[in-house]
Amino acid sequence: MTPQDLEELFAEARAAHSSAAPPDLLARVLTDAYAVQDLQDAQAGPAPVARRGFGLLRLCAGLFGGTAGIAGLATAMVAGVAIGLVQPAPVSAMTTLLWPEEAALDTIELIPNFGALLPEG
């Protein structure tokens, strides 16, 4: 058989092959399709309702890079408060170095003592 004969035979086979599938097979396939669809619908349940009341929080989270950004900011805030309260020695030393005692501002009494005003009546 020549290659040309074989190609001709393939072409005939392709044409014959496009015949429809038996109706009972199509019915079985479609029954399966509907059954799987119904099962998946049942498993999915009702569509989830969008949650309300978190619009501002979501907006802030978006501004600061999402949840991870917000978490980083919160950690930095807590660390800052803790350092301020505890005042560890290295931090105090640095504060003293930058703002020595001598550099404290002098106080000027702009308003005289209330007692000094009394004798004048």
């Binding site: 004969d5 086979a13 092959h17 669809q37 998946q40």
Partner: protein, 199 residues
């Protein structure tokens, strides 16, 4: 959605509609894909009833995967052909085991089985082709059917069979040579005329 509106949509879109609960999409996909994979399975198995079981099972797997289908990753038809290939391979292995159990020879080289093939041959080209295809080794038959009867490209066949494109080319070339050899003795019976060329 009306069937006419869906008829021109690609399989991937139809599958997404099916996953969203569209019954019409299920009908269009069934009518479009089932005949194709049934023909493919029948060619590989040579048994219509078994091929119908394979086609139904492959379509069932398609329905099940629909909600998890990731668009753009694979063509629906390519995926489906691969499922059919795997199902057919499972059945062919089971057949081989049964043959081994019954002490029959599992391997059937083409040249040795031409006589048996000739006795089974009907006076019909399609039957002759099916019989000749049945004599090919499974992988060769699969490659030839996908390339020359299903009309798929070599890269698609490579994806389906999970081999390289070169291997596909080699399988189809060897398969065609084996088919030509198997059908050579039947040329006149199948109605292929000599074209004035002496042998």
């Amino acid at each position: 959605m009306p069937l006419d509106d869906l008829a021109h949509l690609p399989e991937e879109t139809l599958l997404a509609l099916y996953a969203a609960g569209d019954r019409s999409a299920a009908r269009v996909l069934t009518l479009r894909l089932t005949p194709r994979i049934l023909g493919f399975a029948a060619r590989l198995l040579g048994d219509r009833a078994e091929a119908e079981d394979v086609a139904q099972e492959a379509m069932l797997r398609l329905w099940r995967i629909a909600p998890d289908w990731r668009p753009g990753e694979a063509q629906v038809t390519t995926w489906l052909y691969r499922v059919v290939s795997n199902l057919v391979t499972d059945r062919q292995r089971a057949r081989t085991r049964r043959r081994a159990d019954s002490l029959e020879d599992a391997a059937e080289p083409v040249d040795e089985s031409l006589g048996a093939y000739a006795t089974l041959l009907e006076r019909d080209r399609m039957a002759a082709l099916d019989a000749a295809l049945a004599l090919l080794p499974d992988r060769q038959r699969q490659a030839v059917v996908l390339r020359h009867l299903e009309g798929l490209s070599n890269p698609d066949i490579a994806t389906i069979m999970e081999i390289g494109v070169e291997a596909v080319e080699s399988l189809t070339a060897r398969g065609k040579r084996a088919l030509a050899a198997a059908l050579a003795g039947q040329r006149a019976e199948l109605g292929y005329e000599d074209e004035g060329v002496s042998p």
